[in-house]
Amino acid sequence: MEMTLDHITHRYGDMTVLDDVSLRIPAGEILCVIGPSGCGKSTLLRLLGGLETPDEGRVLQLGEPPSDCLNPLTYVFQDFALLPWRSVAGNVSLVLEDHGLGRAARRGIVADVLARTGLGDFHDALPRQLSGGMKQRVAIARALAVNPAVLLLDEPLSALDAQTRELLMEDLVSLWTRVPFTGVYVTHNLAEAVRLGHRIAVLSRRPGRLRDLVEIDLPLAERRPGHPALEAVQAQLWSLIREEAQAADKELADA
């Protein structure tokens, strides 16, 4: 399933956060969205998943999601959003319980996605017992369980330390390599963007406009930290947003 943002403008009160943004999200590719803080990246993602409606413009989905898809537009949140009173399996099962699946079918799906994310041994663990990386793996497993047509990732690795982030990036790459999914990956981390993005959309400072769309041809599986081609793209991206990031940094929150 493909998605299109068609001349999106969005305001919070008097403040325009997104100004005339048009973007195409082709099926089977990961689109990274980067930009300085407060540029409306997360708003863009909320609009895509229908958690907010744009003031102007339209969010379109082209084509039908596959029939076995339980929740076409599925989020992975920065803060994991796991229910602390449910076990790992319970958290995954939560999103399957409203779809009239039998107990056995639910168990099968839960076991499958936990195995795919390397969580098979943590079936009955509670979120408080898990490290940040494991919690985010649970959230990814939960997202995979509903067989999404488009995965919407909202800075999924920002709350993790550098080593864990590296491990989870490898996990995401191998998940995509096995079964390519459509993804929108919002981040402020340029290294993540060049590792995971087939295309990278660069947003400007508030009001967020689309400044550039950078394409990287290198297959995901061949991308390594410190790869010269990626370093070059990362430098190019940094030169695009450096000044804006500086200006955004000096901005007063309510000015």
């Binding site: 998943g49 958690l51 339980l70 929740n71 537009l73 599925t74 989020y75 949140f77 803060d79 959003a81 229910l83 602390p84 009173w85 449910r86 939560l94 999103v95 319980e97 409203d98 509670l126 408080r128 939960r142 509903v146």
Partner: protein, 266 residues
């Protein structure tokens, strides 16, 4: 590097400000207090008119138990407390949830609850006697109303404190409204509701005694009132001890429920 510099250990200055569980201290304080009173009443520097002898109060309690009067006073009291607070607490949780979930309920009912909260419910007892009769009805109503208001306030506060991120997650996965309320909002609000329950039930015990003092033949409140009007300090204190024990028992019970239902917390 300059040689022969004296090495000193860095002084520790990070202690204190952290409560540590100390077992038995609470009991020791009780025991010391009782022993001092016992000693004072025996030695005569506490007059018999000021405080009864703890050992006499104990003897009264034993006698109360042996004569079967304890059961005949406790049974109606506990029934009133259980029925009244069950009505008040369940209505309070239901209304608190409604206020937490629906903007109209919040706008309409929060001022009403705020108006009801500070009324000393005991002042309404004569009115309740007219409305519900002098028998059990008025006592149930008094306890129900007394436990109702703090439960409402605790419940909608707890619902307000449920992580909005979790609710947004539920919505983004297309969960049904009933699922979001039942599987996310209610369990998330449970800690707040249970700690509100401690307050509500303590108020329930206070109102129980008040209700029994105004027109009841049996019950702890009636027993204390009788003893007080005869200036029988031993019996009065025996009644107070029973009430304290009831309070401790209720608090312990809620602690047990918390341990069971909130295992996920710590």
């Amino acid at each position: 590097m300059p040689e022969a510099q004296a090495a000193r250990a860095v002084p520790f200055r990070g202690g204190g400000f952290r409560p540590v569980a100390k077992r038995g201290i609470g009991l020791a304080v009780f025991a010391v207090l009782l022993l001092v009173i016992e000693w004072g009443t025996r030695a005569g520097w506490i007059s018999n008119l000021t405080l009864p002898r703890p050992s006499d109060v104990g003897a009264t309690l034993v006698e109360l138990w042996q004569s079967g009067m304890l059961v005949s006073h406790m049974t109606p009291s506990l029934t009133r407390l259980v029925v009244g607070s069950l009505m008040g607490v369940s209505a309070g949780i239901a209304l608190g949830l409604a206020i937490g979930l629906f903007s109209y309920a919040r706008a309409g009912l929060v001022p009403l609850v705020s108006a009801l909260f500070p009324i000393p419910k005991i002042a309404l007892l004569p009115l309740f006697v007219i409305w519900f009769g002098i028998d059990e009805g008025s006592k149930y109503a008094l306890i129900a109303l007394g436990t109702f208001t703090p439960t409402v306030v605790a419940t909608f506060g707890a619902v307000d404190n449920v992580d909005r991120g979790l609710i947004r997650m539920g919505q983004s996965f297309g969960l049904r409204w009933t699922s979001i309320v039942g599987k996310i909002v209610l369990p998330g609000a449970l800690p707040g509701i249970l700690s509100g329950l401690r307050v509500s039930l303590a108020i329930g015990i206070i109102l129980l005694v008040a209700a029994e003092m105004l027109g009841a033949e049996h019950g702890i409140g009636a027993y204390i009132l009788q003893a007080g009007s005869l200036y029988d300090l031993e019996r009065l204190f025996a009644g107070v001890v029973i009430l304290s024990a009831l309070g401790v028992l209720v608090s312990w019970g809620i602690g047990l429920i918390e341990k069971r239902l909130l295992r996920w917390r710590s």
